[in-house]
Symmetry: C2
Subunit: 339 residues, 2 copies
């Protein structure tokens, strides 16, 4: 069945049933002019991420169940990067009238699974007809010890969770026609792109234990996101190229995996700085969360990479940039001097 046979009001009514889960901090969910919730005692976190067909995903290649999960989870990754707890979500969807309702069912099923894992309640949103699928999710979170992008000092250690670069390689493989479930080596890479998992538990643990001085999620790519951390703390950094966490699968498919780890994007891992005196406490979390020490912050005003021979050179800051990439204009190389 196509969406045009269902119509907006029946879809809203179906969603109201599907997402009717209640919790004592939800006063009014889907169905009134606005949602009404009870805020907790901490500060309130607000974030919004867009996912657009043709720019963030290719509809024919992205299983709708995974897309539903990803559209919530990329927002949870932002809340994780603040060390906080996600609570409520709003979902804005633009959908083509000829969209198959089976696609929608899968999408909502995925979205719902992510709300359950993240302990988030969908409380409202908006629907519109559109030419392409577009998705706008807002997540509201709560927290006390909030970790910002700024706050690092020179000498603080630089850690990252998980593997870097898998997501970009996963997208490449998808575009080459490799589907999930067909190739054991490709699967973790495809999954990294199609269904990234937000590091919510890690973020909250780091915040609760007061172990870190600054944090960001790696969504634009390590080089760009490290650049943001440096900019906000008015510091430089050094990365040890040998230490970059690269998966065996990425090494298998990619002859230049380091470039993917540095500039890939959409990893949704956490990048954070740790005062040296917390190194011991942090090491207790290292295995559980797969944390890697990749370098340190410096008082210089540049970001350097150190190669296997100990040679330092400036890190090129590049990652996907909307409105610019894939255009006639040459990709801009960010200047290395920060201040």
């Amino acid at each position: 069945m196509r969406l045009e046979s269902l119509g907006e009001r029946e879809l809203i009514s179906a969603l109201r049933k599907e997402f009717s889960e209640s919790r004592k901090d939800v006063i009014l969910g889907i169905g009134d002019d606005t949602a009404v919730v009870r805020p907790g005692k901490g500060a309130l976190l607000l974030t919004k991420d867009l996912l657009l067909e043709g720019f963030h995903f290719i509809r024919s290649l992205h299983p709708p169940y995974f897309l539903g999960r990803k559209s919530l989870n990329v927002n949870l990754s932002d809340i994780a990067a603040m060390g906080c707890v996600p609570k409520f979500a709003l979902l804005g969807l633009g959908l083509p009238a000829d969209l198959d309702t089976a696609w929608l069912r899968e999408y909502f099923s995925g979205f719902k699974s992510a709300t359950k894992e993240g302990k988030v309640i969908l409380v409202g949103g908006d629907l519109s007809e559109s030419k392409k699928v577009f998705i706008s999710v807002t997540v509201i979170g709560e927290g006390k010890n909030i970790i910002q992008r700024k706050g690092a000092r020179a000498g603080h250690l630089l850690y990252v969770s998980g593997y870097l670069g898998d997501s970009k390689q996963g997208l490449l493989l998808l575009k080459q026609g490799i589907k999930p479930g067909k190739n054991r080596k490709a699967d973790p890479l495809l999954r990294a792109f199609l269904d990234p998992l937000p590091q919510v538990s890690l973020g909250q643990t780091l915040s609760r234990q007061k172990l870190v001085s600054s944090m960001i999620d790696v969504s634009d790519g390590l080089s760009v996101d490290l650049f943001h951390l440096c900019q906000e703390s008015r510091l430089g950094a050094e990365i040890d190229l040998e230490k970059l966490p690269i998966s065996p699968e990425l090494r298998y498919f990619q002859k230049n995996p380091r470039s993917f780890a540095l500039h890939g994007g959409e990893d949704y891992q956490l990048l954070f700085t740790v005062p040296p005196e917390n190194k011991g406490a942090l090491s207790r979390l290292q295995k559980k969360y797969m944390l890697t020490l990749i370098g340190k912050m410096t008082g210089r005003h540049d970001i350097l990479v150190i190669d296997q021979r100990g040679k330092r050179k400036p890190l090129e800051i590049k990652g996907y940039e909307h409105f610019r990439d894939k255009r006639r204009t040459a990709p801009r190389r960010k200047k290395i001097r920060i201040l």
Copy 2:
């Protein structure tokens, strides 16, 4: 200059400067993984509205300054309908890479003017490249005496603010090539569509004085929104056709203004129910907010209109419905029986 020459990061950096206004309840505005704000003592209101090029607006006909205002104000209208106070906004924008930055400047200037009028702080959002302009705004509000769609009783009086139907006629005139500032009679109608004003002050007054039992904003059209009120309170209603507030300008351009008033949509007026004992108190607000008594709620399970000869007939429930309208499928007529 085109947006592709500016790029995403420079645009974000410009926005961060432009919307750097601070307030003591904003802990962290634009520029980190999420915004961080301090919630007030009341409940929290969450709402999100989409505006899509080609569906909600025609880019060549909608001056970007007004579009900027409207994209915030339609959300403030939802907060107004709950009788609450808007506080924070998130802005998601999909923009074509070849968009002229002058358009963007005007858009943001309009958006900013609406934040100032509404006492709202823009604290974050997301940008993406897209084929068409699309806008997703989230507004967070606060309030204590929250007015829902449900809560009316049989015999409660039905009021609406302002004029109905102007917005739809304004859109028609725009499509006929009539531009703002060229025709004194057309201007209020064009304005109703291009730059509707949310009834935030009225909503808050009604809530504070505890005068109303249920409320909704008229965004889909009077018939559809009254249907929502009736559905939520499990009641019927009667409307006096003679009483519908129709502007002299709508009468001038439209030989069937009542149909526009009943089914037009995008009026962004407030429709609310008042216990008869509050009629006196309400009358003191009537002139200031241009309130009209148009009918009452009934214990029947239908919505009736009363014509000039006192004859009752069922009200057709119709308004714009996404995914359905302008399609091969015939527009569905909502059944009159509600329960």
